[in-house]
Amino acid sequence: MHTIAQKIFQRKSELIMFLAGVFILLSVITVAITGDFVFWKIAKFFYVIGVVFIIFDK
């Protein structure tokens, strides 16, 4: 599993952004069921960190 992830995401920024996307999809489910935006906020946090990493990627 670890090796597959490493093959797909060669950079930390890619993995972080992928997680941001997953959390946005999760947030849709939680917002629909509970009305809570907690996963949405986590997703945005990952996104911001991911963009910072992407900007400094070589």
Binding site: E14, F18, G21, I24, L25, F37, V51, I55
Partner: protein, 345 residues
């Protein structure tokens, strides 16, 4: 006044979407053509990359001209009818009056835009006039970029609005150049060079840098929504659709700009044509998802009273992706211009 309403969508909102789409393509094409021509200018004379970058940079003027004319036509009709906008399903609804006021205020700018476009069109046989510069800086593309940036950012009257709302509207309008427009330009470049691996070899290494700008553009949208969240979040099918599509967009974007681009480049470099074609098929699907997603979220955000179910929205979304993939394959078979360039080299 001629107008219609279907599924909660009004004609002025459709025109507003067309205006934003046109300006985003015009702005992004100007930006990237400017970058390519500058890079080409700084290549050594014997480096063939300079020729290919100039070729694609000049070819992008057709995107500038077509996007600009689309925006101008939509603006012309809008000043007689009217618009609105927002992304991620988190929306500030703007009034018809404030948008009409902004459109009228921007009249000299749109006239200037159409003047530049007509000049670009008139020089279609001698496009080098547009990039005539000793430093590799194209006056034409700089002008069209600045004009489209202002026009797309000022789509509603900002006078008297709280600071956070003003920033929301400016970021919200401008980011389309970095996102929607740049994605469409990327696909244009991908389409233009799909039969020309010798051009791809010089162009594809720039794609990761171009995608950085798309991610920054999406950040501008994120910042703008945080400025007005949570009071602007309405839990409608439109909101859920936009959120799901943004999630898909991020996952798809990271795969496209990451592993897919890496594999294509590796295969081109090593001369594995068949493997390269297989990965290009993945790129075609990912590109179709990317374009459809950006178009969809821009589209639904223009229709705040949209009353289409989530299932139907996704049905249309998948249908458009399928049509783009098929259209892409047909284009790929018909377009031989890149091959001719190879023959002429």
């Amino acid at each position: 006044m001629i107008g219609f309403e279907i599924f909660g969508m009004e004609s002025y909102q459709l025109l507003s979407f067309g205006r934003q789409l046109g300006l985003s393509v015009m702005g992004a094409a100007s930006l990237w053509a400017m970058v390519f021509l500058y890079l080409a200018h700084n290549k050594k004379v014997e480096d063939s990359a300079g020729i290919f970058l100039t070729w694609i940079g000049l070819r992008m003027r057709w995107l500038v001209i077509s996007g600009g004319f689309l925006a101008f036509v939509m603006w012309s009709v809008l000043t007689m009818i009217l618009p609105v906008a927002a992304h991620e399903g988190v929306t500030l609804v703007t009034s018809k009056e404030s948008i009409l006021s902004a459109m009228n205020f921007m009249t000299p700018l749109y006239i200037l835009i159409v003047g530049f476009l007509l000049f670009g069109l008139a020089k279609y046989k001698n496009p080098y006039v547009l990039i005539n510069s000793k430093k590799g800086i194209s006056w034409f593309y700089i002008s069209t970029f600045i004009l489209s940036s202002i026009a797309i950012s000022y789509y509603t009257d900002l006078h008297g609005l709280p600071t956070n709302e003003s920033f929301f509207h400016v970021f919200h309008g401008f980011h389309s150049i970095f996102t929607l427009g740049t994605v469409l330009c990327l696909d244009f470049m991908f389409l233009s060079t799909q039969n020309a691996p010798f051009v791809q070899k010089h162009l594809f290494p720039l794609f990761p840098q171009i995608s950085k700008v798309i991610w920054i553009g999406l950040s501008l949208d994120l910042l703008s929504t945080l400025l007005i969240f949570p009071e602007a979040a309405l839990l409608t099918p439109r909101f859920y659709f936009a959120q799901i599509v943004v999630g898909v967009l991020i996952i798809n974007g990271i795969l496209l700009s990451g592993i897919i681009t890496r594999r294509i480049l590796k295969n081109i470099k090593e001369g594995h044509i068949e493997r390269s074609i297989r990965w290009e098929r993945f790129a075609t699907v990912a590109g179709a998802i990317s374009i459809t997603s950006w178009m969809s979220i821009t589209f639904v955000d223009h229709f705040h009273d949209l009353n289409i179910s989530l299932v139907l929205l996704f049905g249309l979304y998948v249908l458009v992706i399928a049509v783009i993939i098929i259209g892409h394959e047909i284009w790929n078979k018909l377009d031989t211009r890149a091959e001719r360039l190879h023959v002429n080299m």
